[in-house]
């Protein structure tokens, strides 16, 4: 039976009489945990920000009609050449393939799927922006702007104006900020666009769009689905792309495979499209944990040292305790509790320091062209980190305390008493 009250009382007395060394050992843990919390909150904040930069705007599944030449050329239908080798030069894809057939029924079908949060139709149109004599190539996306705002956080990227303004304006356009800058245009101005076939349409700028990716901002603008259909002279069921957002990103791959098979369309899932993108996240996590663990190992050695010193100084006490009936386990527990107390106090202080630091960092202004909606350094305040942090502190002090305390357990009181 372990009498915890007695053991903790002895541990406490030892620590209090060596308050300086105790404080130093605890401070080591405090720095380790404080650094961990600060780093991990900042790094994952950064990760989330960078992830959002891509993920928010990227559909989980992108469905479109790949323009590729037909596999079956007319000659293969002709029976007489069945057994001969046919060579067809200069195969061209069919022209009308961009359009998704039966797009609206497909969208309805997808929206009924439980995994799907939403399936949004888009029209991608290649156009030219015209201002005076300047002509810049780009593309215009016809979208259901309110749905896009809801599912793909388009709001965050509209730096001037609003989705509602576009929705309410018949010939409105949300102009990419790169184009606006090049052409010295602003909200309220008019811009002429021309289709590839050469027809020119005036559109009213109701807002500016900045994705944070310069190449996109210099090309891409948004308009209402109907407006783009009218510009292209297409019917109301003309849709070139369907963007699907899921509840769970993990379902993207299987569902995209299913869609491809079922509808004979190209369906690309987000992970395939952004395979490289996890790598950055992983490396940042790796750095965070490598640095934190290094700091904690250093702190662990500090505790190990100080505990060893305590035990060396307390040889007599250990011999007395054992001679008066404390078991080796009791003695080990006394020194283990000292380590754990140091770890706990140091750890809690570390969490506090981490909390204070991250709060300070989260108020430091951080503005960059590429990330329009970020005003201060991004910090991820995740309670899990605090839980992991304290666990970390306890585990590392446990290991640091284990070896010295085992030594204390094994000390032979007779040797000590003889040594006097």
């Amino acid at each position: 039976m372990v009498n915890w009250k007695v053991i903790l009382n002895i541990a406490k007395t030892h620590l209090l009489t060596k308050i300086k060394q105790t404080a130093i050992a605890a401070l080591g843990v405090t720095f380790g945990i404080g650094a961990y919390i600060t780093l991990v909150s900042f790094m994952t904040g950064l990760n989330t920000m960078l992830d959002d930069l891509i993920l928010n705007q990227t559909p989980h599944i992108h469905i479109y009609n790949e323009i590729e030449p037909s596999k079956n050329q007319p000659i293969s239908l002709y029976d007489e050449f069945k057994n001969s080798m046919n060579v067809v030069h200069s195969i061209k894809p069919k022209l009308s393939q961009k359009k998704i057939h039966n797009a609206l029924p497909i969208i309805n079908y997808l929206e009924e799927n439980e995994q799907v949060r939403g399936a949004l139709p888009q029209i991608k149109a290649t156009i030219f922006y015209i201002a005076g004599s300047i002509e810049i190539g780009g593309n215009l996306l016809g979208v259901n702007i309110l749905d896009e705002a809801k599912l793909f956080n388009l709001n965050d990227y509209i730096v001037k104006g609003s989705p509602e303004a576009l929705f309410n304006t018949e010939n409105g356009i949300l102009l990419g900020i790169g184009i606006a800058e090049k052409m010295a245009l602003d909200v309220g101005d008019r811009i002429q666009i021309s289709t590839i076939t050469g027809e020119v349409f005036p559109l009213k700028i109701v807002g500016l769009y900045q994705s944070g990716i310069a190449d996109i901002d210099a090309m891409q603008s948004f308009s209402n689905l109907k407006t783009v259909q009218r510009i292209l002279g297409e019917a109301e069921n003309y849709v070139t792309d369907i963007n699907v957002k899921l509840y769970n990103i993990e379902n993207a791959l299987p569902l995209s495979k299913k869609i491809e098979q079922q509808f004979k369309l190209k369906a690309v899932d987000i992970n395939t499209a952004n395979a490289q993108f996890e790598t950055g996240t992983n490396i940042r996590n790796l750095i965070t944990y490598a640095v934190s663990i290094t700091l904690l190992v250093v702190a662990g050695f500090g505790i190990y040292n100080i505990l060893n010193m305590f035990i060396y100084e307390k040889m007599n006490d250990i011999a007395i305790l054992k001679a008066t009936g404390f078991s080796g386990k009791d003695v080990q527990l006394i020194f283990m509790s000292q380590a754990m107390i140091i770890g706990f106090i140091g750890g809690v202080l570390g969490l506090l320091i981490g909390l204070i630091f991250t709060n300070i960092i989260s108020t430091i202004p951080f503005q960059t062209q590429a990330l329009p909606r970020i005003k201060t350094y991004p910090i991820n305040f995740n309670p899990w980190f605090y839980f992991i942090g304290i666990l970390f502190a306890m585990v590392s002090t446990f290991f640091a305390g284990y070896l010295p305390s085992r030594k204390a357990k094994k000390i032979d009181p007779v040797t000590i008493i003889r040594g006097q």
Binding site: I320, L321, G325, F326, G328
Partner: protein
């Protein structure tokens, strides 16, 4: 008369630096309430014997019985419990936990035993301190009292769990004759009034003569 402690054919060897037969076939009994002293030349093995009898040293041959129960071969934890409950040990050097108060030092073995409430233990400890005439030191730090006082605190601590036997390794070794006399009187009184058994190693002939029985050792053997 019941036997408290019995050693049967105890042999001990030190293997380092050379094989050395330090205790040779030691057998004796101590009865309840008996005050026994052990004498013998320096180096004859008195301390070694006492460490074995106190169960701290388990590396020996032979058998040891406490209250007629064999304790040789018990596990370390069992032996710790036996030391805690049945054996009080007084060292030559006053071994106290220097960061604790006198009272805490005396209470510690009882707290470990955990058979009584804190209040009872405190009362017991104060009573033991009173027997030894040092109750006024109760709240002092153990490092701030004199050698003779420390020795008496150590005796009070040995008494706290009302053990079957008290063992002492030259408990009066570095006390002046006055304090030495004092400690002897306390021991004598305890054995007479409370039926406590005592086994005390001493070099002090006057001290030994006043005890009930003297065990004399020479070269690891009991000769008388």
């Amino acid at each position: 008369m019941s036997t408290v402690l019995e050693a049967k054919n105890v042999n001990k060897y030190f293997k380092k630096p050379v094989l050395f037969h330090v205790l040779k076939d030691i057998s004796f009994k101590i009865n309840k309430g008996e005050f026994v002293s052990i004498m013998g030349k320096s180096g004859c093995g008195k301390s070694t014997l006492l460490y074995i009898l106190s169960t701290m040293d388990t590396d020996y041959e032979g058998e040891l019985l406490l209250n007629n129960e064999l304790i040789t071969g018990n596990t370390r934890d069992q032996l710790s419990y036996i030391r805690n409950k049945h054996i009080g040990f007084v060292f030559q050097f006053h071994y106290l936990l220097s960061e604790f108060t006198v009272l805490e030092n005396v209470m510690l073995p009882a707290k470990k035993l955990g058979e009584k409430s804190y209040q009872e233990i405190e009362n017991d400890a104060m009573q033991k301190l009173k027997i030894l005439n040092i109750e006024h030191l109760a709240t002092k730090k153990a490092s701030r009292i004199s050698g003779g006082e420390k020795q008496r605190v150590a005796i009070a601590r040995a008494l706290i769990n009302n053990p079957s036997i008290i063992m002492g390794d030259e408990p009066t070794g570095n006390l002046d004759s006055h304090n030495s006399e004092n400690v002897f009187n306390i021991f004598k009184q305890l054995s007479k009034e409370q039926g406590l058994s005592l086994l005390i190693v001493t070099h002090d002939e006057d001290f030994a003569k006043k005890t009930d029985r003297i065990i004399t050792m020479e070269d690891g053997k009991i000769i008388a």
